[in-house]
Symmetry: C2
Subunit: 335 residues, 2 copies
Amino acid sequence: MLKGQQTWKFQHPPVIIGTSAIVGPEEGQGPLATDFDLIHEQLDLQEQTWEKAERKLLEQATHMAITKANLTANHIDYFIGGDLLNQIISNSFAARSLNMPFIGVFGACSTSMESLALAALLIDSGNADYALAATCSHNCTVEKQFRYPTEYGAQKPPTAQFTVTGAGAAVISSRGTGPRVTSATIGKVMDMGLKDPFNMGGAMAPAAADTIRTHLHDTGRKPEDYDLIVTGDLASVGHPIVKDLLKKTKIYIDNTTFNDCGLMVFDIEKQAVQAGGSGSACSAVVTYGHILKRMNKGELKRVLIVATGALLSPLSYQQGESIPCIAHAVSIEMD
Amino acid sequence: MLKGQQTWKFQHPPVIIGTSAIVGPEEGQGPLATDFDLIHEQLDLQEQTWEKAERKLLEQATHMAITKANLTANHIDYFIGGDLLNQIISNSFAARSLNMPFIGVFGACSTSMESLALAALLIDSGNADYALAATCSHNCTVEKQFRYPTEYGAQKPPTAQFTVTGAGAAVISSRGTGPRVTSATIGKVMDMGLKDPFNMGGAMAPAAADTIRTHLHDTGRKPEDYDLIVTGDLASVGHPIVKDLLKKTKIYIDNTTFNDCGLMVFDIEKQAVQAGGSGSACSAVVTYGHILKRMNKGELKRVLIVATGALLSPLSYQQGESIPCIAHAVSIEMD
């Protein structure tokens, strides 16, 4: 490797052979509804607790991705996943029922691309034939854990974001045809001192800008080399900031090329989602549902997914800490 | 790879070029005291909160491991780490000050070997020259988060374990001489239905047995091929169980070869630690402090560290769930 690089360039780019995107009712009324594999009309999925509903979303998504890859669970060599819940219980409990070697990760809302990057590394290095990357989030578990139980009906400022209820999964393989994971850029933790947990997009924007800049530097690419560059969940407050930050270092990404999963998953003019979507599932369902469908249709050739994560906890906030953020980028390309 | 294997056999086994083990007062009175690099006499490390004290332990350990490797922070390509706190804030905040590309992981007390395995994979696959793996735990943060604040003075049953206050870190490299990370076995989640969070050792024993069995199968090795096999933190309840479970599948490990970090770090007859040590730091400080010192002295040639983790959360326990457990094993060998 070249010293000082943060990007893994895969020599044998793994193929994404099966994906799934399952969402809740609010996402099912958004502009990407037709791209999702399953839309739950009820937030509780007929489970006794929100946490069990979230786990069920993940279990459904992982099984669906495996089925769509024409495989069964025992073909999968490694499952890599994480979520926002304390001790990533959605993934740990799903891993119990999946009965696969499990690598638990935590990157908050950047988990989608952290897990996909590691899965691709396992395939590329010859240590796996098939790997599963997945993540999930649920609006009610996250509100309860990080803010207030939704039953309180607490008001929110317009900079707040709406956690996506959903789960996304991808099965990748050393063989096959289709979209390939060609490189992954692992981000550094950035913290500009913002302390407001109701403005995550603003807090995460510098991490996204840094990772995009690093990715372009490490790969020698320009923004024009991509048909689409999406940030994870910066939404209407954070996405303009990342554009400004990139402009300051003379990186210009055309508006038609640059988007944000938090802005894509909801219609922020019509839906009561404040600044837009967030949560681990946000970039996962947009990527594994919408973007990969567009790639498979031939509408997009090269995309860069820059999943962003705010690494705070309620306790770190209560202790007066600012919000450390990170972004991991994965490039996906059609042959 | 061979189908169905869970073990990464490194073609270019990374060298462990610098380690550190920093502990608190109780560990400093245990039998391994002389092997630790720094013993804090005060649990608070002069910080305002237990969480900030835990983070300080980790920051000190990472800086010390880098210094002992004769490097500076900007040589390190990737930092891989996690801890027991919600949203792994000790590691995320330490990653902010370390300013390195960061891969956050969660494996509860198995994090020590999960992070070392991934660090070794990065080196072996040619994606890094130097990688840092680290973890930490603090008795007071963990008691507060998972059980009761220590200030309550709650009583405990004898099956309970005492969370190690400490941090351990390792810098590994593609070059150099010394102990090498030769393979890593990634565990599956096992759950035999135990629900008692005051008997973690019993809950984790089946995961340890499964990973040891898988490691021996995948590598074609016998227990006698190792000078030492240690489980992470099964302590006096769980360690006899793992022996029994292994015997049932005709795997016999000699008592002089088989030990447990939770039994090694404390004198369970003399110290008020119930069944023994636990916590992410337990296997980390015993491995990076004691075991690697013995390897460097030539007393041990081949060791297998089987770090165990209980993947529950207080919420999963409150919702009546049993305790899913995992174990990841890493073999370390002298040239």
